[in-house]
């Protein structure tokens, strides 16, 4: 049995094919990795200009890559401004050798991501995050940095540990995440054919071959075939065609004369083919998307009164978690006082 996802798009592992298909993703990501590698503090100082330029180029390329996909609308421009600021602030935060500047860059990240929260229709959380993070946490951090002010610079701030390995690990994770989003995430698909394949799959989920409703299954296979006829790209896809043809041959006779093991094998075959077919149909993108087939676009509606709805939710669905959060806050307060209030033995002497 061939694997389900292996044929969603032919996976080519040759280097030039990957470069050709994904260069628009790879170039900004690699530029970003190089920029970070140059900017992280080292014993031998490298001028931050080169790293900054590389990072800026990476961000600009990534921005162009996205603007190519979507048109310029106010919401989109705002999104890119906030997203760019957030990523810029995050990069500055981890490359700063001075902790005070790092804390201020963190505040920039918080403010920018609050802008994103607002775009995501979460005004209550935007306000809460600004008050709690930018107001309370960052200010407390600055207090601690002042309290624990070391005389002069220290090795700890100027040297980073294993910068190459850490950047490598981080960007491998990033490439994996973005690659998966790019490759599979919620592309529009033919819902009628997919639904029929799903129903077929559900029909064959029985312990015995005799329980399978063959007339209904054949009707569903016909429905899939009809959808295939409607769309030209499906008829070009050999893999999909093969699965459907095999499925129909299996369904053409009900196999009552076979012995038990053969029946079991036949049932498994039907089940597997229906499963693979539905998976492939789900991943087979349409060239001309139908209206409303993609959940990737905003078509969902959130309640207009955000605060009221969240409050209602907190005190009904999440009541237990809410109470536990209150207990957690109390325990954390007591714990912080106990930990920080303890004088070390040196201080007492």
């Amino acid at each position: 049995m061939t694997s389900l996802f292996a044929q969603a798009r032919p996976v080519s592992l040759s280097v030039d094919a990957i470069l050709r298909d994904h260069w628009a993703v790879l170039v900004p990501v690699l530029l970003g990795a190089a920029a970070l590698l140059l900017l992280l503090p080292r014993a031998r100082r490298i001028s931050p200009v080169a790293g900054g330029l590389l990072g800026g180029a990476a961000l600009a390329l990534a921005g162009l890559w996205w603007i190519n996909r979507v048109g310029p609308l106010p919401e989109i421009v705002l999104f890119y401004v906030f997203a760019g600021l957030a990523v810029l602030g995050a990069t500055l935060m981890i490359v700063q050798s001075n902790p005070v500047y790092a804390a201020l860059s963190f505040a920039l990240v918080i403010l920018a991501s609050c802008g994103l929260f607002l775009l995501l229709a979460a005004p209550l959380l935007m306000a809460a995050t600004i008050i709690i993070y930018a107001g309370a946490i960052v200010v407390t951090f600055l207090f601690v940095i002042m309290l624990a002010q070391q005389a002069g610079v220290s090795n700890a701030d100027l040297l980073s540990r294993e910068p190459f390995l850490a950047v490598l690990a981080g960007f491998v994770l990033l490439i994996a995440l973005v690659g998966v989003y790019d490759r599979t995430f919620d592309k529009p698909f033919n819902r009628d054919a997919y639904d029929a394949a799903q129903k077929l799959h559900a029909l064959s989920r029985t312990p015995k071959l005799e329980d399978v409703d063959f007339p209904a299954a054949l009707k569903l296979a016909d429905a899939i075939d009809e959808q295939f006829g409607k769309q030209e790209e499906f008829s070009k896809n050999k893999v999909l065609q093969n699965f459907l043809v095999n499925l129909r041959t299996e369904l053409s006779d009900s196999g009552l004369e076979l012995d038990e093991s053969q029946k079991q094998r036949k049932l498994e075959k039907i089940h597997d083919h229906a499963n693979s077919l539905s998976g492939l149909l789900r991943l087979h993108p349409l060239l001309v998307p139908e209206e409303g087939t993609s959940a990737n676009q905003v078509n969902a509606v959130l309640p207009r009164e955000n605060v009221r709805a969240i409050g209602k939710m907190m005190f009904t669905e999440y009541l237990l978690a809410f109470e536990l959060a209150g207990v957690l806050l109390l325990v954390a307060t007591i714990g912080a006082i106990v930990i920080a209030g303890r004088r070390s033995t040196e201080d007492l002497k």
Binding site: A43, A156, V178
Partner: protein, 141 residues
Amino acid sequence: MSSLALENYLIVGALLFVLGMIGFLTRRNMIIMFLSAELMLQGVSINLLAFSRFRGHLGGQALVMFILTVAACEAAIALAMILVLYRSRRTLDVSVWQDLREPTVDPILDPEPDLPIAPAPMPKLTPSGVEPKQPHETSHV
């Protein structure tokens, strides 16, 4: 209807998470490590809010509310601990706490040379006495 896709927000969240992870792994200042952990939480929050928006369900926003609570608790405890640790060793470098490692594990020494570090630029003041010598810290055990 906007043409911003869910993917955009997910990528921003992933970027913040990855940058936070790199910061946590490389930096040795305890405060910056902690800020990096908060950065990862921020990336996760953006993901949750994006899903909440695009699925039309407020569950994601409620979860971010709890993330905020936990982050506040975490900040309180971590800052208290950082203060205690600073009091006992007079440095924020995590490497000086390497003696907490497993007894069988070798200490991690930085491969980069312990070069003399250029002193931070001091403010230009009228000299009124002798400038105190700056203590030189090192992370080697």
